[in-house]
C-alpha cells in the first residue's frame, strides 16, 4: 500500500512538472516519465500486459511522435522567449495550488461509496478475452489504424 502511495505521488508530481515546465522537450520527457510510472502502477494492479503496452507504446512511441512534431516546427526566438515565459508563468501559476487544494478537499470529504462488488469469477486469461470475448475490438482497432493512416496521407497530400 505504501509503495502504491509513493508511486501515485511520483506520478502526480511528474504530471504537474510536465504541465508546468517551460520547454516543450522537457515537457515531453516528463510525459514519458509519467507513462513509465503509470506502467509500474498498472503492473502492481495485477495487469502486466497492459503495463508492458503502456511502457513500450506510451513511454516509448508517443514521445517520439511528440519530438518529431516539435522538431518540424520552429524554435521560439531569443527576443520572444522572456515574454513567452512570463505569459506561461501567469497562466500556469495556479496549477500547483489548485492541485494541493483539490487534494486536501478530496482527501477530507471523499466518501467511500457503498456498493457491492461482483464476486470474482474464475481466473481469466487476457489472451482468451482478447481473441474470443472482445474479438470485435480487434476489428475496430484495425479500422482505426487504417483511418489514422488515411488521415495522415490526406493531411500531407501535395497540392497539384
Amino acid at each position: 500500500m505504501l509503495i502504491n502511495l509513493i508511486l501515485l505521488f511520483v506520478l502526480l508530481s511528474a504530471a504537474v512538472w510536465t504541465v508546468m515546465t517551460t520547454r516543450l522537450i522537457r515537457s515531453i520527457v516528463g510525459l514519458a516519465f509519467t507513462s513509465a510510472v503509470l506502467a509500474a502502477v498498472i503492473y502492481r494492479l495485477n495487469s502486466p500486459l497492459a503495463a508492458v503496452f503502456e511502457l513500450s507504446v506510451c513511454a516509448g512511441l508517443i514521445p517520439v511522435i511528440f519530438i518529431t512534431t516539435v522538431s518540424f516546427t520552429h524554435r521560439i526566438s531569443k527576443e520572444e522567449l522572456p515574454v513567452a515565459r512570463k505569459e506561461r508563468l501567469v497562466r500556469f501559476r495556479y496549477l500547483p495550488f489548485i492541485i494541493i487544494a483539490a487534494g486536501l478537499v478530496l482527501s477530507w470529504c471523499f466518501k467511500i461509496p457503498q456498493f457491492n462488488l461482483p464476486a470474482a469469477g474464475p481466473k481469466e486469461d487476457v489472451r482468451n478475452i482478447i481473441w474470443y470475448l472482445r474479438h470485435l475490438d480487434l476489428l475496430g482497432q484495425i479500422v482505426i489504424l487504417l483511418a489514422g493512416a488515411f488521415g495522415v496521407v490526406v493531411l500531407f497530400k501535395e497540392d497539384k
Partner: protein, 106 residues
C-alpha cells in the same frame, strides 16, 4: 467491499481526479497545440488508471487489460493524426498557436 479494497479505491480515486484536473488545466490554459496534446495524454492516462483500477477491484483484470490495450491503440492514432494536424497548421500559418489560425474557412 472489504476495508482494504475500499481504502485502495478511495486513495486511487483521489489521485485519478487530480491527474484529470492536471490534464484539463493544461488544455484549458495553453495556447500551444503540442501542449494541448500533452494535456489530452494526461486525461487519457487518468482514464487508463481508472479502467485498470475497476478491473482490479472487480476481479476482472483480464477484461480491463483488453480494454486498455484498445484504448492505447486509439490513443496512438489520435496522437499521430493530431501531430499531422499541428504540422499542417504550422505549414500554413507558421505558428502552432490556435489563435493565429486565421485562414480557416467558415
Amino acid at each position: 467491499m472489504s476495508p482494504d479494497l475500499a481504502g485502495l479505491f478511495s486513495y486511487f480515486m483521489i489521485f485519478i481526479i487530480l491527474l484529470f484536473i492536471c490534464g484539463a488545466y493544461c488544455i484549458a490554459a495553453t495556447f500551444n497545440m503540442v501542449r494541448a496534446m500533452i494535456g489530452l495524454e494526461l486525461l487519457i492516462k487518468a482514464a487508463t488508471l481508472l479502467i485498470i483500477l475497476a478491473g482490479y477491484l472487480c476481479g476482472r483484470s483480464a477484461l480491463a487489460q483488453a480494454i486498455v490495450i484498445t484504448l492505447i491503440v486509439i490513443e496512438i492514432v489520435v496522437m499521430v493524426v493530431a501531430g499531422g494536424i499541428i504540422l499542417w497548421a504550422f505549414r500554413h500559418n507558421e505558428s502552432i498557436d490556435p489563435r493565429k489560425l486565421s485562414n480557416l474557412k467558415g
